[in-house]
């Protein structure tokens, strides 16, 4: 199983794509850690956008912390259901609380986005694991705020919120927070980037990396 392909035709397409991706971004990946290179390749494969190879930035402890958490089958928390539904090969739990009744109540009470309230709720119920954000800057800001006040047991964050309002700032704040993370600098990001990043690591863990 490689990049979601489960048939011969699917595997051939994925292999051919891998070769094209490597040739497009070889200057950005030839001298970096192979696990980080694998993540970048998979992001470019998923978006067909080589610019991501220049936008991705890793905290030095991201890969190690994320792999430890995945090996322990800790929870993965996503900001929206689209991200959750792309994470299909994990043995642990993949949660998204954005439609939870309690979350909708928190959002109304504090007049914050549901995505932000969902992170608050995760903290309230004792979440431990990796947070994967593919959409909402407000969720990322909330995660940083809770981490910094010791209220969120997050081991690593995939920070790929997208948009022209807040996304770039939220990723700069993540870099400065010192939470082990991967981010795509600037406005770009999104669900395929977030899913590609975490799925690369899940596959490595399954291969007994």
């Amino acid at each position: 199983m490689f990049m979601g392909a489960s048939t011969e035709e699917g595997k051939l397409i994925a292999e051919k794509s891998r070769i094209i991706v490597k040739s497009l971004i070889k200057d950005q990946i030839e001298e970096i850690d192979p696990t980080e290179a694998d993540i970048i390749e998979r992001i470019v494969h998923s978006t067909a956008d080589p610019e991501y190879a220049k936008l991705v930035q890793f905290h030095p402890k991201f890969v190690e912390n994320a792999i430890d958490s995945l090996k322990a089958n800790e929870d993965i928390l996503t900001d929206i259901n689209m991200v959750k539904s792309g994470i299909t090969q994990y043995d642990g739990d993949v949660d998204c609380f954005i439609k939870n009744d309690e979350v909708i109540k928190i959002a109304k009470e504090f007049d914050i986005t549901r995505a932000s309230a969902a992170i608050q709720y995760a903290s309230d119920i004792g979440f431990k694991g990796i947070i994967v954000i593919g959409n909402a800057p407000t969720a990322l800001f909330k995660a940083i705020e809770l981490f910094e006040s010791n209220k969120l047991n997050v081991k690593a964050i995939v920070g790929a919120p997208v948009g022209f309002v807040g996304a770039a700032d939220s990723k700069e704040a993540l870099i400065h927070s010192n939470i082990p993370s991967i981010v795509t600098k600037g406005p770009k990001g999104g669900t395929p980037v977030a899913v590609a990043s975490i799925n690369s690591l899940i596959r490595l863990v399954k291969l007994n990396y």
Copy 2:
């Protein structure tokens, strides 16, 4: 409810984003049909990538056919579950058959991708409506093949498969098929593009467009 925002904070972010998006792509949208412009704006909002305004191409009957189908609550068929889970406001059915047992059997028997087998399966069970493709070129090729042999009752296609192998070709084939469609020309596309396109139309229908 605008672009998924349901709280005051969310609405403010969406409005601010809309203004930025309009200013970034005004040359591409100022002289086109307002519904097509709305779709393009929403794609750029969802990807934070203004290049999409240059890549999007509409068949002249796409908007009309898609809106008629949505008004009649016909089915929406997606290639992968990530696309399905992004379409949250539709009153009709949103289907994705990629994990269906029969589809897995068809894929093995004919050695085709599951995404392609899922379109075959939809044809077999008498699907009627709109197909939304955010990932798999093989699904799009299969839809065109079945349409051309009068075996698929598809009213419109959102064609946003992504990748360096087959995606661009599948979208060229869609343009030449004369199926009412929206495509993103070239390798780029993906689930956010697909979801943004159909959600823009679903919202317009709800507003009694």
